[in-house]
């Protein structure tokens, strides 16, 4: 069990941290949530019957939600994005500064459930089945949330990117 948990952590640490950060919007709390989730997992005597990956993601998600419930963010507290700033060297960046700014705003504007679907699918690398197990929702529901999220991002991003290109 311990080795399996360690393997999930090492394979998915970026996705787990990004999920926690997307919920808490605070790096410190995201870190606390991930640690707390693994503490809870390790204290349980039995693991899941099926796939361990969504089980771990669900534990991190629950711990992050608990963090926010226990200590709601203060008004003065600035929400932190899941995205890093661009490197100083523009040639090293995978997206332009404009794309970065627009996409970041579009993802931040998504409803929580859609943002979670995007984070879990794209940054967690999970299948729809695993996303559904993580958020405890039907497969069709999470697929639909993901599709709507991409459509919403596309509606916000595409005209502005096309205007910038022109």
């Amino acid at each position: 069990m311990r080795q399996a948990i360690e393997r999930v952590y090492s394979d998915h640490r970026q996705g787990l941290y990004t999920l926690a950060l997307a919920i808490t919007r605070c790096p410190g709390r995201a870190e606390d949530a991930v640690q707390e989730a693994f503490a809870r997992l390790w204290s349980r005597r039995t693991g899941p019957v099926g796939d361990l990956v969504p089980y771990v993601f669900a534990a991190v998600r629950n711990a992050a939600i608990d963090q926010v419930r226990r200590r709601p963010p203060e008004v003065s507290e600035q929400a932190v994005s899941i995205y890093n700033g661009l490197p100083e060297d523009p040639s090293a960046a995978s997206v332009t500064a404009e794309q970065h700014r627009i996409l970041e705003a579009a993802v931040l504007a998504l409803p929580q459930d859609q943002r979670e679907a995007v984070v879990l699918k794209i940054y967690g690398g999970l299948t729809f089945q695993q996303v559904a197990e993580t958020v405890d929702a039907p497969l069709q529901t999470v697929a639909s949330r993901y599709r709507r999220a991409l459509e919403q991002i596309g509606r916000r991003v595409r005209p502005r990117l096309e205007a910038n290109d022109a």
Partner: protein, 168 residues
Amino acid sequence: MRDDIESLLERMPLRKPPASLDARVLWRVRRPRQVVIAWAVAAGALAAAAVALFFAVRTEPRAPAGGPTAAPAVAQADVPAPTDGVSPAEAAAALPVGGAETDVVPVQIERQWTHLAYEGVVAPEGEPMAKFRRQVVDQLEWVDPDDGAHMEMTVPREDVILIKADVY
């Protein structure tokens, strides 16, 4: 359209988890599981065993006593209010009742705190908690009003108390 948005999102640079996260998570996972000893249960089992032993000895055949058989007047002594765990009422209720042969009366149940030690801040569930170790001695006395048979029992126990603490 969907694919190009997915592709753009995949290329966005993510905020990296801090290096300290690895240490925190792996330390937690590699640490042996804590074994929680239910001290109250152990003390209860010990008390039950002692009471059972007491009645096993008491029910052995005895020669008829030549002296008076009237039970001495026994009243329940002042009982200090317990702070937690087994209350005097619960302790009395735990004793077997029914036949005249097994009727006993608790005469004193006293609880003494022998030691309360602060052991610093721990994080068993990832949340800071102040840890206290409390050692308590329960002294119980019973008497059988039928023949004045008397039993005393001392049950030491140890509790670990965790109190949520805000540590910054």
